[in-house]
Symmetry: D2
Subunit: 283 residues, 4 copies
């Protein structure tokens, strides 16, 4: 049976769960999953509900219209999505293949609830990978001079393919504010460090030189401030003085792959709610 997901946030007050669950119950909805969170400091209420679509619980105009009334009443930000509608992802890559392969393997294995209509790169190197998975590959070489113009073409292509979310799978270009503004809260990056440690270029080199005993990877939403967007997922792995810089890069690759894959999985299943500089993860 098909289902839908509501994600909602508003100022906390009494009776919010009752109001929302009552709304669904009156429409005969069967709630499959409900997760709520109250941030007591900020006095904010967050909820995610999944229910089976059936009869009056279907996402008709009437249903949506009535829910809008309820949401307006409580001053909420909200989104309701039918879970059949897979998010449409564009993967951006440069020359490293590990994050791309990880996502494509999960995709081809029906593990990733998403569509991947295209791959975009600033280099031709990974076209053979795209071909293996029969996904169109577009190459837009980037220079200082043509960046703006190339991004325009990319944005057009994304629009054409009705892309919801851009995944930067070790894409080695910094996007312009204009590009970022076109996909608010919908560009996911993987940074090869435990943020906020080692922001910017060459984090493994910096980690090596600092002599840390663990290295990390961080997947986050992209905002205008470099590596400062809301964090979705992080993980670390132990290293030692025996590890050369090359070893760090090799060990880090496994982290990058898994951390990005987990973040993308959470995102496409509508399990991430961005709130200020942070995320609420409904697991």
């Amino acid at each position: 049976m098909s289902s839908a997901t509501l994600i909602l946030s508003c100022t906390d007050r009494k009776g919010l769960v009752a109001k929302i669950s009552q709304f669904l119950y009156q429409r005969d909805a069967n709630i499959i999953d409900l997760d709520e969170h109250v941030d007591k400091n900020e006095k904010m209420f967050f909820i995610r509900i999944e229910w089976e679509l059936n009869g009056k619980a279907n996402l008709t105009d009437e249903f949506i219209g009535e829910f809008k009334k309820l949401a307006d009443e409580i001053g909420a930000n909200w989104e309701i999505k039918p879970n059949e509608n897979k998010k449409r992802l564009a993967i951006f890559v440069s020359k490293y293949d590990h994050c791309l392969l990880e996502i494509l393997w999960r995709y081809s294995n029906n593990e990733l609830h998403a569509e991947i209509p295209l791959i975009i790169s600033n280099h031709p190197d990974l076209e053979h990978v795209a071909r293996q998975y029969a996904i169109p590959y577009y190459c837009f070489p980037i220079t200082k001079e043509n960046k703006r113009e190339q991004e325009e073409k990319e944005l057009e292509l994304l629009k054409e393919h009705r892309i919801d979310t851009v995944i930067l799978a070790r894409y080695m270009q910094i996007l312009t504010p204009r590009f970022i503004a076109a996909y608010p809260n919908n560009i996911i990056n993987i940074h090869h460090s435990f943020l906020p440690a080692f922001i910017g270029a060459d984090p493994y080199k910096k980690a090596y030189e600092r002599g840390v005993k663990l290295i990390g990877a961080t997947s986050h939403y992209v905002t205008e401030e470099l590596d400062e967007g809301p964090i979705i997922e992080q993980d670390v792995i132990r290293i030692s003085h025996k590890d050369s810089l090359k070893d760090l890069i090799r060990k880090g690759r496994d982290l990058e792959r898994l951390v990005l894959a987990r973040a993308v999985d959470l995102h496409v299943n509508n399990r991430v709610l961005q709130y200020g500089k942070k995320t609420i993860i409904f697991e």
Copy 2:
């Protein structure tokens, strides 16, 4: 402001969240925390709700009586507890002090939401620890012959001190079925292995001989079957061929302490729901 916690389980059906949250809303309760889980295989519904006690939401006989009606209607198992009422714990120890010290340190640091009216041991060795924390220490030496008789005395003492939960902090005696039956779902043990690996005696020795690369600790409720009760918390730590049996024991101690402390913390905050051989952990 004081608060209460409901833990409830029943066969899953439509409208359960609505029904329960509506009940609370109608009594002006402010829900602080709500966590629900549906086991689709078993078609079971589990929920934990915490709300502020105030006015009609107080735990009066009327409130409880009316909730009982609702619960009977849906055929639920349930418990409502005022969070002020701290659980009363009896710590059982033998000669090892690390788990006892960990719990007492958290207790004295106001980190453990519980009362510890007494410590019981089959050896006199740790009496000085009890004295440091000004907690009565009772010693009941156990032999094959006197076990039943000594347990009777212990049970009497527990009754007298209105003990809710028994914590076996590396207590090196197997309790009789009679004792276990007196505290159903309320005896917590720490086993020094990653269960179900290395059930029974000498798990570190067995782990050493098997050559595992990680050792673990498991905190679980005690049932009649040795080391087979519902697991509350587990964790592991990496070891290598360089570690002697003595090193395993030393490294394992840190795990045992933390895993038991986390399990006790979850239990005293009514965050564990036992269901068959498993637990639902409302974190």
Copy 3:
């Protein structure tokens, strides 16, 4: 510059490091890496040395002959391998592709110091993967009746391709003792549990039913006793009551891939020394 690796074990006694390092120094060898371990219980000495091959330190018959004298004198088991000589691996698979893909990705990425001349399966399903990587794929369907016969053909094929080590990448057949005897200490398996928990079939189902809070994967050498061979590498991942059996299988796949890949990496770089039921890992 090319290099060689010595792995040696013998009864512990005074002067072993001096004797062996002196032997190399007298031949002008530059030691790149040395790791020794003494098991005080067993009074055993273990050492791994890597040195640059050059001049008198080359692996000539004279060098080997003289080292043999030294080794005989101290009653040692030993192996000296030129590091240029990559181990030749045969990957055995059934229908799951994740472990195979992980190894092939590392292989194609020049991350795995090995040759993979062939893939063997009891099913035709993964032939397309082999084709992508241009590796010959041989299919030997197995029934109770033909197992012995098919294994004979497989062994012949392995011999023909001068295979050193067999990797069971979720190969769903139990090998006969005869097959195992043909590759002593050179068959590596990945078991989808934290051994010795959940030996045998369906470990995820057993883990799900037992209600463990962590699941694991174990890579080990294959011996005649099922899942009892020396462990090379293990790891675990946290799960919760929210995870269905399907979730366990999905999360476990990531563990299986990484644990097997790390074990294979250690093995092909001559970093594993089997000793009784255990391994010494020279990292």
Copy 4:
């Protein structure tokens, strides 16, 4: 039988292991443990050797004199220490007791190979802990005006008690360069973040505001640059949006305790070699 430990570093060249192990062998030393590391980038050689003291292998003036000749010849930094000689530690604390208690528990449990002749604090709060363990407690309240003067008194006291190493167990004062210079490479701090993330004050608050998914703790040697000294040990723990700042502080305490305890353990067993801004850990 008693033993000694050599820690040595020098520019890498051929025959170093042979030369050093030969030196010991000629004096009938039985090597218990040997760990060497070559940093190929820096062309540096590092070694730690433990051997049994007996006959000619004893640390006589002659032995030391002859080893000095060898060391001079290869231009090495080195230290030889009899393992009987426990390092003498002074613990510095302020008001938090968790790190202090962790160290004292291990100390009283004979798990820490060290002497703790005194505890120094800038507050009187933890005197009762010191009294429980019968260790002298000295209180030196610090103001901007008297810092220099108080440190002088502390240094005198340390000298009097022949202290080798100062452990800052959440000591909430920044030491002056003069104090730091008095104990080069021998002051160990615990910082409550995963350095280099969240340097300086209030790391948990910063972590909370940044919305990280893991928090950490770092134990390092103190140098003049705040939180920039060589790292000995680090670890992390997973958190979520459900954790308040108070939860972070509580969860972090367990990390701080264990990370500091592990770092102190490595240090007192002469298993840490500082090299530039990094450490070599001989485990």
